[in-house]
């Protein structure tokens, strides 16, 4: 009954991809043991930035919603973790009088505000780290996407949100410590044991890997198909019976939730959070990672965050005007490789296509050529292909 449809992939487990990812994971898990503490923390941060970029790629690269507010969700998660660690440090030391953080004391607060107090408990802080950014995103998303605001206007709204929230956090000195943000906070510890930097780094690595795999799996499902269609022509999808608004709200909220967790881990690693991460420049950086890495590729934005982070690190040591270097890089990518760095990688690489299936004889030459471009196991593929051709051309009796 099942007819073979030419060129239609059977969904198979992407063995090659999983192998590559596994090797990459192991390298990044073991290699940093040789580094110093600073490098370990730095790499961990870059991985979190990478997961932030992957989250934006879901929203921008797949669904076509360009947002500069990714840093807002990141910071909201970061502040949740920040308050937790701050309150636990203060509780342990009685220098500032009870369990009130020093900036609250100096700004005249006499007791912990009710909306911050619950954050001193670990489970509540963890839930808030995800739910506050996701809930905030859901609220904004509901207003934006059900009112049929589209295209560049969404981008403008995202800029406004980033600026507004940044200003708000700066202005609420007594509650947020303004531009100084939350610093001098307790290290993250489980059951009284402080987690060493390498442990935090591994948490970041596992988290980012999970985000990458999760995002890959999501976009390979029918949901990915629908998101890509919304990006290309959203009106048409609604005439097929899909409620576009609910899809957009879903992916937007999911992306914010991921950003929130990334922000929380970032604070545990960085020991510091300030409204700088909410503002437009940081949001722009996330956009740049996705643009340079390649929209809709997931792995591209992650790679771009890792590479650009390192470039930035070295550029900062050489010159104060490191942003100029990043800017020039961005220009080069936009002008010469508009689809990002991932478009330079051969197409065949990373695709879950099993070689001997679903290829009729009419494309043997092109097929051979395509396989040769693959630079992982060219020899093995060549032998396989030759065998298939020989088998197909054998005279039948």
């Amino acid at each position: 009954m099942t007819q073979v449809l030419p060129g239609v992939q059977e969904s198979a487990f992407p063995r090659k991809l999983a192998l590559m990812a596994g090797i990459g994971f192991l390298i990044f898990a073991v290699f940093p043991l040789l580094f110093g503490e600073f490098q370990i923390s730095f790499l961990g941060k870059l991985f979190l930035f990478g997961s932030l970029a992957i989250a934006l790629d879901l929203v921008w690269g797949f669904t076509g919603i360009l947002s500069f507010a990714q840093g807002v969700f990141f910071s909201l998660g970061g502040y949740a973790m920040g308050y937790y660690l701050k309150l636990n440090l203060t509780a342990g030391s009685s220098d500032y009088g009870g369990n009130l953080p020093e900036f609250m004391v100096s700004n005249g607060l006499e007791q912990l505000p009710w909306f911050i107090a619950p954050l001193q408990y670990f489970p509540i802080a963890m839930v808030a780290m995800v739910l506050v950014p996701a809930g905030f995103a859901y609220l904004i998303g509901w207003f934006i996407f059900t009112s049929r605001v589209s295209g560049v206007y969404i981008t403008i709204i995202s800029l406004a949100i980033a600026s507004a929230l940044n200003t708000f956090f700066v202005s609420q000195q007594a509650y947020t410590n303004g531009t100084n943000g939350l610093s001098d906070i307790a290290p993250l510890s489980f059951f009284g044991a402080k987690i060493p930097p390498i442990g935090l780094y591994w948490m970041c690595l596992v988290f980012t890997t999970a985000v990458l795999i999760g995002a890959w799996w999501l976009t390979k499902s029918n949901l990915g198909l629908i998101l890509r269609s919304i990006k290309e022509n959203e009106a048409r999808v609604s005439f097929l019976g899909y409620n576009i608004a609910s899809y957009k709200i879903f992916i937007w909220t999911l992306s914010a939730g991921i950003a929130g967790i990334a922000g929380g881990l970032f604070v545990a690693l960085n020991q510091f959070i300030s409204p700088v991460y909410m503002a437009v420049p940081f949001g722009t950086q996330v956009v740049i990672w996705v643009a340079i890495g390649g929209r809709g590729t997931l792995i591209g934005p992650l790679a771009a965050a890792l590479i650009l982070g390192q470039v930035q690190n070295y550029a900062e040591q050489i010159t104060q005007d490191w942003q100029l270097i990043i800017g020039v890089l961005l220009l080069i990518v936009v002008l010469f490789i508009p689809n990002g760095l991932m478009s330079l990688v051969p197409k065949q690489f990373g695709q879950a296509k099993s070689p001997s299936k679903s290829n009729s004889s009419h494309s043997d030459a092109g097929y051979l050529q395509a396989q040769l471009v693959d630079w992982i196991t060219p020899l093995q593929k060549l032998i396989k292909t030759t065998l298939t051709i020989v088998r197909n051309n054998r005279p039948r009796c």
């Binding site: 449809l5 029918n222 198909l225 890509r228 290309e232 005439f239 019976g241 899909y242 409620n243």
Partner: protein, 248 residues
């Protein structure tokens, strides 16, 4: 009783009345062809039915339910499928994926995440591919198809939705005579299972498929009947005189 009925429908675009009271009834498994000069309001009528253009006055009833000004995705889920004038398919996706996207079924988010390509779905898509004659293009990116083939994919997407009412806006636009004829056969086969409304310009094609013709002019019904009745209708002759001659 009509499956889909339109009563005194009016559509306004910032003061301009595109439809000034159109009446139309479509029976179960009936094939209706709508013709009319440019600007008669043919496409606007379809836009109003599928919820794309807001209706300012009048009523659209489907299966005895008032669906006037419902949202596009709600109307689509009730079983009204539409093919647009220009091929509106997803160039980035393969023909197979285009049809998979359109396939009838649950349109919820979690269904989309967990859905598997079942044998039943494959079978359904294969049968649509057979109907539109594109079986060997299943894995081809829609971008690399010819214009006529894209039109067929678009028709296939409507078929995959398995609607009760199919609305086709100029299905043969830009097709060669052979492709046009093949499309006519697809539409006739379709009308055995669905109610079909076709908007057309090509009179040769209208003659091939038409059972009942409705003529619109300046946002109003002008005439109705068989091909012959319409061609010999004095008002229709008057409207088309000096433009394009309706008698081909």
């Amino acid at each position: 009783m009509s499956l889909l009925s339109i009563q005194d429908l009016q559509v306004e675009f910032s003061g301009f009345k595109a439809l000034k009271g159109v009446n139309l009834g479509i029976g179960d498994r009936e094939l209706v062809t709508i013709i009319g000069p440019n600007g008669a309001g043919k496409s606007t009528l379809l836009d109003a039915i599928v919820g794309k253009s807001p209706v300012s006055k009048g009523k659209i009833t489907y299966q005895e339910r008032d669906i006037t000004n419902y949202k596009p995705h709600e109307i689509a889920r009730m079983g009204i499928g539409r093919k647009f004038q220009n091929p509106n398919i997803y160039n980035d996706l393969t023909v197979f994926e285009n049809l998979l996207l359109a396939l009838k079924g649950s349109h919820g988010i979690f269904a989309a995440i967990t859905s598997k390509l079942t044998r039943l779905k494959r079978h359904k898509i294969t049968s649509v591919l057979e109907q539109i004659g594109l079986i060997e293009y299943a894995g081809t990116k829609a971008a690399s198809l010819s214009h006529g083939q894209k039109q067929w994919v678009e028709i296939g997407m409507v078929l995959a939705q398995d609607p009760s009412v199919v609305l086709l806006d100029e299905p043969t636009a830009g097709m060669t005579p052979e492709e046009t004829h093949a499309t006519g056969e697809i539409i006739q086969a379709m009308s055995e299972f669905h109610s079909v409304v076709v908007i057309e310009h090509d009179m040769e094609f209208v003659k091939q498929i038409a059972q009942r013709i409705v003529v619109l002019h300046q946002g109003q019904n002008l005439a109705e009947g068989t091909v012959e009745q319409v061609q010999n209708h004095p008002k229709v002759m008057e409207v088309y005189l000096g433009r394009e001659r309706i008698a081909a």
